[in-house]
């Protein structure tokens, strides 16, 4: 079985409106792919559909992870199977400490009757918090409650590091970050890059891709991938905007129809 996050002709709607209109994408293990696109092109919808959010309805198409049908799994099963979503707007969980939350998530990955080794767990978590320059006192704070934008995003990366997914989707992780926080977050992601892991980085701005250098860049427009290229494509988009890609795509569509 090929080791790949594979999306085939995916169509999905939210509140009766079709947003993804036949999306095709493959992120092989070991690669970092970026998805860019103008507002409203369906970037965040893709992230939510892959994670299994119930407000999003899959109309047709496939999504699989190393051959396993993602769409047939419950939200939590996808997570335990190795799918991770770093949220654009991470949710607050009042009264639940970061340590307890991550611990519960780790515990959920163990067999029935197996206990997490608390000492080893804290040691590991403190090490990763140090890497992400998160103060150790944060372990006792409620998840995302009263956090700044930058703190929330760093906590997302901490969770990703602690859960060691096979495939991670980062949904506009750069939004709301100043340059220092961006560098820390990028360093965290880069440290996780490995031949055994695939990343899909959703972003609006090229800036993030200076720090997390992608292998492949895709342009998403009106629910479809309309162009795929190397990392230089991101720079080109930054410089020239999206209009030329959209025009190029429209010309091609016309050519096909004719």
């Amino acid at each position: 079985m090929s080791q790949v996050l594979s999306i085939k002709n995916l169509k999905a709607s939210v509140a009766g409106q079709e947003i993804l209109k036949g999306l095709n994408l493959e992120v092989p293990q070991g690669e970092v792919h970026a998805i860019m696109g103008p507002n409203g092109s369906g970037k965040s919808t893709l992230a939510k559909v892959l994670a299994g959010h119930e407000d999003y309805e899959v109309i047709s198409g496939e999504a699989s992870m190393d051959g396993e049908d993602l769409l047939a799994m419950e939200i939590d099963e996808r997570s335990r199977a190795g799918f991770f979503l770093a949220f654009q707007y991470p949710h607050e969980i009042p009264g639940v400490s970061i340590a307890n939350f991550i611990r519960a998530a780790r515990q959920a990955r163990l067999g029935k009757g197996d206990e997490l080794d608390a000492v080893a767990f804290y040691k590991e978590m403190y090490g990763k918090m140090d890497e992400l320059k998160i103060d150790r006192s944060f372990t006792g704070r409620s998840v995302n409650e009263g956090f700044s934008g930058g703190e929330k995003k760093r906590l997302e990366i901490l969770q990703m590091m602690m859960l060691e997914p096979k495939y991670a989707v980062l949904d506009e992780t750069d939004s709301g970050l100043d340059i220092d926080a961006l560098k820390i977050v990028a360093a965290g992601v880069n440290a996780m890059r490995s031949p055994q892991r695939g990343f899909l980085v959703i972003t609006h701005y090229q800036r993030l891709l200076d720090y997390i250098v992608p292998d492949v860049v895709h342009v998403l427009y009106k629910g479809k991938i309309i162009k795929t290229g190397g990392k230089d494509l991101a720079l080109e988009l930054e410089e020239k905007g999206y209009d030329w890609v959209i025009q190029e795509f429209a010309d091609k569509e016309v050519a096909v129809e004719a």
Binding site: A51, G52, H53, E54, E74, I75, D76, R78, S79, R80, F84, L85, F87, P90, H91, E92, I93, P94, G95, V96, N100, F101, I102, A104, A105, A108, R109, E115, A118, S142, Q159, L163
Partner: protein
Amino acid sequence: MNQDTATAEAVNINQDVGDFSFPEDYAYDAGTGLSEKTVEYISGVKKEEKWILDFRKKALKIFEGKPLPTHWASKDLENIIFNDIRYYLAKGQQPTRSWDEVPDDVKETFERLGIPEKERKFLAGVEAQFDSEAAYSNVKVELEKEGVIFVNSTEGLREHPEIFRKWFGKVIPTGDNKYSALNSAVFSGGSFIYVPPGVKVKHPLQAYFRINAENFGQFERTLIIVDEGAEVTYMEGCTAPKFETATLHSAVVELVAMPNAKIQYITVQNWSANVFNLVTKRAVAYENAEVRWIDCNIGSRLTMKYPGVVLKGRKARGEVISIALANDGQHQDTGAKMIHAADETTSNVISKSISVGTGRSTYRGMVHIPKHLKGCRNNTECDALLINANSRTDTYPAITVKGNQHVTQHEASVSQVSEEQIFYMKQRGLNEAEAMSLSVNGFVNDLVREFPMEYSVELKRLIDLEMENSVG
């Protein structure tokens, strides 16, 4: 083994553990129904003095004369058939001091609930009541030497009338409400505690109430007197197996905190879903005394309980911290009463309730500060969490403050576990029940910290179990 597991194992009470019963074999049985004969029977078995029998008979009259409080409370009260209930069941046991002397089936019951083990681990004294009478009662020798009395109330009445009689029925008069009158007529068991001046009992005293028989009414009567400058923490746990028909638990608990005394009274109840739990709990606090009720209500068909403090002396402090979880078909009607009766008294009420499925939680609070007093303070906070769309919560805070030299503050909130929050947690690999459970634990977290470690671990486990069962 980590600390959490070790403690959880040390305090092994959960619903599944509690769901068993032994065949009934009682030497004393007052039969079903309630009449003067029932009262005479109970009093006779206990060989009580005449004043107690008179007290009971008078209470029975008051009970019969009082209407059900359904003009303000749940109509479900009408479903208690007083004539179908058995009011006194006992094996004829005298409470023993040695675990070995406890009858085998009773011993097995409490062993399965972890009672003697708990006593060895961290309690200063323990009393275990099986249906109507105490089966086991023990207090550590060093406390006895200091003059601490911890016995069941039957023994308290018999052996210590000089202390008992002075306070018995004084904090909660017989006619306070229909169920306190019922308890006063047929009471049996419960704890009697006296802590002499200046004695600070370091470890908690604990009582355990266990209903074993079907159609049974448990009516324990507890009286705790803590003399000047003395301190005690008392914890009670309650369970019953799951019977088909309704069971009634109607206790009266009176606390007396003399000047500068401190009492902390902790309840973790885990009744099965057919128990009517109608309990009257009140304390009186004299000058600079402090009374804290920490009350956790899980299970039962209907619980009505409003622990109160009468703040009778200057600078007395009263506090009620409560957590209620109403699962499918259950109604937790709980709250607090704070009666300010002296200057500079303070009261604090913090209540959190969780309603699951068709569960209903009601907060009823009463705070009374009269005009002639100065410098009183009250803080009331009640927060409700609704799990499902058909869950229900009501809040009836009645705060009467007269005069303008007081400070009161009231906050209430109702929240729902948001779908986005659950989605977020599931994306990290938690299933529906685990996510719900973590949210609910987070909601009550700041209150659970007030519980002793052993009980907070237990409470977390009970919440996990309730959420697991409700999500299915």
